[in-house]
């Protein structure tokens, strides 16, 4: 039951994040890119930069902020997945030279915060 619920919440978050990124002029390439090793919530394009986005949605701040939930381990997983994606799509990797990892933290109904280039 909870797993299905989590999945639903996650999907909601990704939709909210995608909408907000589109508003900022990002082009969404992939939604919830999945392999058997892991997943990337959103892959977007801004200008000539490929952006890998980790989305975190929390319903309340009672158990901590979404920012706290994006740690070093999560980031390295996203980076590994991003590298896998580039390997999987050599056409895209050749086309774009610069990459970065962003995070979108959402607290439902209260705020949407976009952090650019968080690994650096």
């Amino acid at each position: 039951m909870t797993k299905i619920f989590n999945r639903k919440i996650g999907k909601e978050g990704e939709e909210i994040a995608a909408d907000s990124l589109k508003e900022k002029g990002y082009k969404i390439l992939e939604n919830n890119y999945r392999t058997k090793f892991g997943e990337i919530d959103l892959i977007a394009l801004k200008g000539n930069t490929l952006v890998f986005v980790e989305v975190k949605l929390k319903q309340t701040e009672d158990f901590g902020t979404p920012e706290e939930m994006v740690g070093a381990a999560k980031l390295s997983q996203v980076q590994r997945m991003a590298e896998f994606y580039l390997m999987d799509n050599p056409g895209i990797a050749k086309k774009y030279n610069s990459y970065r990892i962003d995070a979108v933290c959402i607290i439902q109904g209260r705020r949407i915060t976009h952090y650019e280039n968080i690994t650096f």
Binding site: Q79, S98, R100, N117, T119
Partner: protein, 519 residues
């Protein structure tokens, strides 16, 4: 793009050129890593360089950056790589053009983009001269110490922005010129000595012994009851030491630069070091050591004085570790990382009480210690160690009458007159040992004694007799000659005569300092 910037690391007193290779990738995830065995202080350069460049108004590249410190097998420590890394990144981004001829970059960055005082700039200049590198870029506050070395162009850099305009030929940084600054007397200035010899009442024989010790660089050991004036005598000795000659000054400046003891703007150190170590000083603090070998107090006192008050309170292991450096004038520190030699040609002044209560042998106050405790206390100083001390003197308590009457009587000898004689005696010695890298009598080896010391026949007989009667060691025999030579030099300095032959009077005086009462 790949760029290479030169800098230098210090391992002991020998600098090694280090190539800082910076590659800013065109492709890949943004990141910044430093390789080539950096320790924590080098690793942290990432954050300093990044922030300093951003605060200097530079768009820090959102790209993958790799910095390699080559050769990669030497461990790197210290903050000196900040500037070469920053310059490497700027050159990789084609913001600046590196100078065509080889140049060293050196210094720690502050977060606001200015450069901070970094230790070791003097050694960097030395390395530049060795490697035939014409120009070096150092923090502005270190420029003066680097300019001591001739034949190297020293550019004092205040901030990253200034350096960028210089390298791009917009606004040139003016080369630094050496100014013998006032602040360079780090160990002490002559005005900064606590006591003058004229302030010490009585103790004429101790003062004489101190003069001999200072003139010849001999080790001296003072024994006396508490409050007799041992510490005062030792501290006043700082005021009668001759100034460093040029070669000595270079040696001292090397060590002080390495340990970061040269203040901002300081230059060549001219005042003779006078170091005091408390008896809780660790063995490594005194001798030197650490996994990255660092000089200890004995090396900081090189060509100067090391004063160890409360000598028997030092741990036995610490004192015994002094034996080899006292004999050789240098200390070899061997660690896994390698072996390093630091010079440690110091004059030891040691002070001690005769027993735990301090009043053994005092004419007025009774000693309360049992024979066993006295023996135990005196056994803390081993025979071999004391054998290496040239002059042994007793500093008895001064009579109260003398203390009171001293207020009205002017003192006979002040530090200035004594210093003049000591300086003259030292000049005689330097003339004698010209070209030998020996500056004073105490550094003579046995072969030098044979070559330079002219002993009268009477004096020789007296020496022979003394050795037989007191069964003195071979080392003591040679040390006696050295002391006699210094006394002869002092005599020559006072009278202005030229001859420095050792007479029986000189030997007799030397003997009196050498024979210990409880031997």
């Amino acid at each position: 793009m790949l760029t290479k910037v030169l800098s230098a690391a210090h391992f002991g007193l020998t600098p090694t050129p280090i190539e800082v290779e910076v590659n800013v990738f065109k492709k890949g995830f943004p990141g910044f890593s430093i390789i080539g065995l950096p320790n924590k202080s080098v690793e942290e350069a990432k954050e300093r360089v990044k922030t300093a460049l951003i605060n200097s108004g530079i768009d820090f590249p959102n790209l993958k950056i790799i910095v390699n410190l080559a050769p990669a097998d030497i461990p790197k420590e210290g903050s000196l790589y900040d500037l070469p890394i920053a310059v490497g990144i700027l050159a990789s981004m084609e913001i600046v053009k590196l100078p065509e001829e080889k140049a060293y970059f050196y210094g720690e960055l502050s977060l606001d983009g200015t450069l901070r005082h970094t230790r070791g700039a003097f050694l960097l200049a030395l390395s530049a001269r060795q490697e035939k590198i014409k120009s070096i870029f150092v923090p502005a506050t270190c420029a003066n110490e680097a300019t001591v070395i001739e034949g190297v162009r020293v550019y004092p850099v205040k901030s990253v922005t200034e350096l960028i305009s210089h390298l791009n030929g917009v606004a040139e940084i003016e080369k630094a010129k050496y100014s013998p600054s006032t602040s360079s007397g780090q160990p002490r200035d002559d005005g900064g000595v606590e006591f003058d010899f004229s302030e010490i009442i009585g103790q004429e024989s101790a003062k004489r012994a101190m003069t001999i010790a200072a003139a010849g660089g001999h080790n001296i050991f003072m024994m006396g009851s508490p409050g007799a004036g041992k510490t005062m005598l030792a501290r006043a000795t700082a005021g009668i030491l001759p100034p460093l000659n040029e070669e000595e000054a270079l040696e001292v400046t090397k060590i002080y630069s390495l340990t970061g003891n040269i203040p901002p703007g300081g230059g060549l150190i001219k005042a003779r070091p006078f170091r005091t170590a408390h008896h809780t000083t660790s063995r490594i603090g005194l001798i030197g050591g650490g996994s990255e070998p660092h000089p200890g107090e004995i090396s900081l006192a090189h060509n100067g004085v090391l004063f160890l008050d409360e000598f028997p309170e030092f741990p036995r292991s610490t004192l015994e570790a002094l034996r080899q450096p006292m004999e050789d004038g240098e200390v070899a520190i061997t660690r896994i990382a390698g072996s390093v030699k630091f010079p440690a040609n110091f004059m030891l002044i040691a002070a001690a009480n005769p027993c735990p209560c301090g009043f053994l042998g005092d004419p007025k106050k009774e000693c309360k210690c049992s024979p066993r405790t006295i023996m135990k206390y005196q056994a803390r100083l081993s025979g071999p160690l004391m054998d290496r001390v040239d002059l042994h003197i007793n500093v008895p308590a001064v009579d109260v009458d003398k203390l009171i009457s001293a207020d009205t009587q002017p003192a006979t000898l002040n530090s200035k007159t004594i210093r003049n004689i000591v300086v003259k005696a030292r000049k005689i010695q330097q003339k004698r040992f010209r070209g030998l890298k020996i500056y004073m009598n105490s550094s003579m080896k046995n072969k030098h004694i044979k070559k330079f010391c002219n002993i009268e026949k009477d004096a020789y007989l007296l020496l022979k007799q003394a050795v037989n009667t007191y069964s003195l060691s071979a080392r003591t025999y040679f040390r006696l000659i050295k002391i006699s030579q210094t006394i002869a030099d002092l005599g020559a300095a006072e009278s202005g005569e030229r001859g420095q032959t050792i007479t029986s009077a000189h030997v007799a005086e030397a003997l009196q300092y050498r024979i210990r009462t409880n031997d």
